[in-house]
Amino acid sequence: MIKKWQLILLGIMVLFILSACSDEDGENAAEGSDGDITLEYWQYAFDSKVNLMNELIKEFEEENPGITIEQTTFPYDQYNEQVAAQVPAGNGPDVINLFYGWVPSYVDSGYLQPLPQDTFSHEEIENEFFPLVEATKLDGEYWTIPTAVRTLALFYNKDLFEEAGLDPNAPPETWDELQDYAVKLTKAEDNGRIEQSGLAWEPSQQGHHWLRDGLTYQAGGKVLGDDRKEVVWGEGSAGLEAFKYWLSFPGELGTSEQGFYTDDVTAFMSEKAAMNIDGSFRIGTLQSDAPDLNYAVAPLPAKDEKSTNASFWTNGITSDVEGEKLEAASKFIKFLTSEGVMEKWLDATGELPAKEAVAMQDKYVNHEIYGPFIESLPFANAHFFIDETKERDIVIDAANKVLLEEADPEEAFNEMVDSTQELYDEYWSDK
């Protein structure tokens, strides 16, 4: 009797332990016996992207029998967290879609391998793709390659333009015009409370990108030196000029407010903000969440030079992939960055083709909504991020010091430059 008891208990415990450890076994089994290769592909959950990817995977699998792709997605907010949690457990992907700003941390931690040069030669990449893809070129290697890129542009509400007596077909083109328009489009109460904001202004959303890659370059400045080691933001007067201009909207002009109707996108969608600086990726959201919004898009208002921010989600191969699997992974990424896929990608997600020849076709350049974004691509900059979150926080803090604590803009600016430099020093110190 007793021995049976013990056996049962022991059995239960063994089962417990086995079930806790058996996750990985299932995955290995998926590789199959007749040379079939299964690739694990991860991206963040964004409906239009996930659906398109399912179609593309089907297409790819038909063209390449013997390779199966499994797509796993995570909500954007948890993406890094999920990747971070799953990878040490050995459940990582083979091909991963990452925000370009995260790539240096991933490379740094040995998580990615460089794209094999026989499939992705540097010459080919540099000839065909927009130069902004160099943001993920590290240690002389391309680690990732994107299907599509996004740029920032000015979204404006045509109805509110008309209401304020402005021509909805003549959006602001210069810095001065933008300020002028923003003032005219702002409605405020006597006590200073803003009822309608001329320009939504949110440093934590696209605001910090606008400052870095838009305004700073427009004023003739630059954030990073060519070696990507030195922060040259503070050299000359352009950086500070851009910073002050950026702060003039919530500052002396009083046209904007942080957290106005919670965030810039909500404010613009609910017609509480007349203009917003946002990315091409917002088009889909506007179509689905605010289908009646009468808006148009224009390239960013410029000063001495034209510039806008570009960013992209990009595909890389994780470091443990080798042999046949690596070949399959390269093939898959090659497929994802082919002309045909890029065109489909634009139609489905609103993200712009990463190859110049595909993007600059007349049908796209002259498109009512995509046109302004594509037009901006040749002069778009993608800041080389070491740590997107931290660099973002540094900019937000600098803005808040001026706006909330009445710090001197120049001091806050210099502090921002110094803190950014510290980040870069720390990053390069062990390279």
Binding site: M1, I2, L9, I12, M13, F16, N80, E81, V83, A84, V87, P88, S105, Y106, D108, S109, G110, Y111, N191, G192, R193, I194, E195, P203, S204, E257, Q258, G259, F260, Y261, T262, K272, S319, D387, T389, K390, D393, I396, D397, N400, K401, L404, E405
Partner: protein
């Protein structure tokens, strides 16, 4: 782990029983045949087979064993592991070596202004939050204790926030307190200037603490209602006879007898405050990460950022160890200071 790992009383008892058993012919034969290992186990199973009492305890211990293994695996091991990680340079994404760096992480933490700020903020959250929810909880419970009609209805109303999603509540508060929100409308209508609330480094923390207090009133109310129900009515009657005023009855009868509940509430409230100061902060702070100017960041948010945004598990674990000591210290303090013995 050899023999010596087992506690000695076990040996003594077993030795004694073995002595008894040796006299049995039946056992002797088996004993000679078997090896050393089996020799030791045999009396245990023999006891089990023969004695009902041992069977009972055996069953109880086995039943307790599963939750115990679970508890060890899910709670204790990770906790101990965190201590280990706190002393290493541990990048979450890296697969290579994780070198031991001694106290480096702790030194770096105490040089990080944001971390010190988060410690201070967590302390403020706890002090304001726990005091606030105890005060409101007791008040609501005392009032509800006095009424007889619609008691259930009121209890439900006060308890609903506690079972509502924290994220939903955070967003509603964000809308209420935004520049163009309801609260500012009220302020303007009664002739006061509008306030920045969540947009101000001086006010944001208190708005978030208020949301947390509001949400936990219901839970505290339930605890205190149970506590009040346990106070014998005769004590109040005795106080009445002595001519005590309501205030005197409250301070000299209710509060002392409610003391165990207060201590319990304070500790539970403190622990939940440390835990939930994450969701509210993430959802209510203006930049979604403890702003503006780190004025609302709590230690938990800081840990999260270190671990899952900077991938620095070493720093995150070190901060967790400090948080652990922080909670331990506060709990001991509360037990010592708040727990008093009252005779009645």
């Amino acid at each position: 782990m050899g023999e010596g790992y087992f506690p000695s009383p076990f040996f003594t008892i077993r030795g004694y029983i073995m002595e008894q058993l040796k006299s049995s012919q039946d056992y002797d034969r088996e004993y000679d045949k078997k090896k050393e290992k089996v020799k030791q186990k045999a009396p245990f199973f023999y006891k089990l087979r023969k004695t009902h009492k041992y069977q009972k305890y055996f069953f109880i211990f086995i039943s307790l064993l599963l939750p115990l293994i679970f508890y060890l695996g899910i709670r204790v091991m990770p906790t101990l592991f965190t201590f280990n990680m706190g002393f290493r340079e541990w990048n979450l994404l890296a697969t290579g070596e994780r070198p031991f760096v001694g106290l480096d992480n702790f030194v770096a933490l105490f040089q990080d202004e944001v971390f010190l700020k988060s410690l201070l903020n967590t302390f403020i959250y706890i002090v304001i939050g726990v005091a606030g929810q105890l005060l409101f909880g007791i008040t609501v419970a005392l009032l509800l204790h006095k009424i007889n009609r619609f008691k259930g209805l009121f209890r439900v109303i006060y308890f609903i926030p506690y079972v509502t999603s924290i994220v939903a509540i955070s967003w509603v508060f964000q809308w209420l307190f935004m520049g163009n929100g309801f609260i500012n409308d009220v302020l303007i209508n009664i002739g006061l200037p509008p306030q920045p609330f969540l947009g101000s480094p001086d006010q944001a923390l208190y708005v978030i603490a208020a949301a947390m207090i509001w949400q936990s009133i219901g839970f505290q109310m339930v605890l205190f209602l149970a506590g009040l129900g346990n106070i014998p009515q005769m004590l109040y009657e005795a106080a009445d006879i002595d001519g005590a005023s309501p205030w005197q009855k409250f301070w000299n009868v209710t509060v002392p007898l409610l003391n165990p509940t207060i201590v319990f509430s304070a500790i539970i409230g403190m622990i939940t405050f440390i835990q939930v100061s994450f969701t509210q902060v993430i959802n209510m702070s203006s930049d979604g990460s403890g702003g503006p100017l780190d004025s609302t960041i709590s230690v938990v948010v800081y840990i999260y950022q270190q671990a899952f945004q900077q991938y620095d598990m070493g720093m995150a674990s070190a901060a967790t160890v400090i948080l652990f000591l922080f909670i331990l210290g506060l709990t001991i303090f509360q037990m010592k200071v708040l727990t008093k013995k009252f005779d009645y």
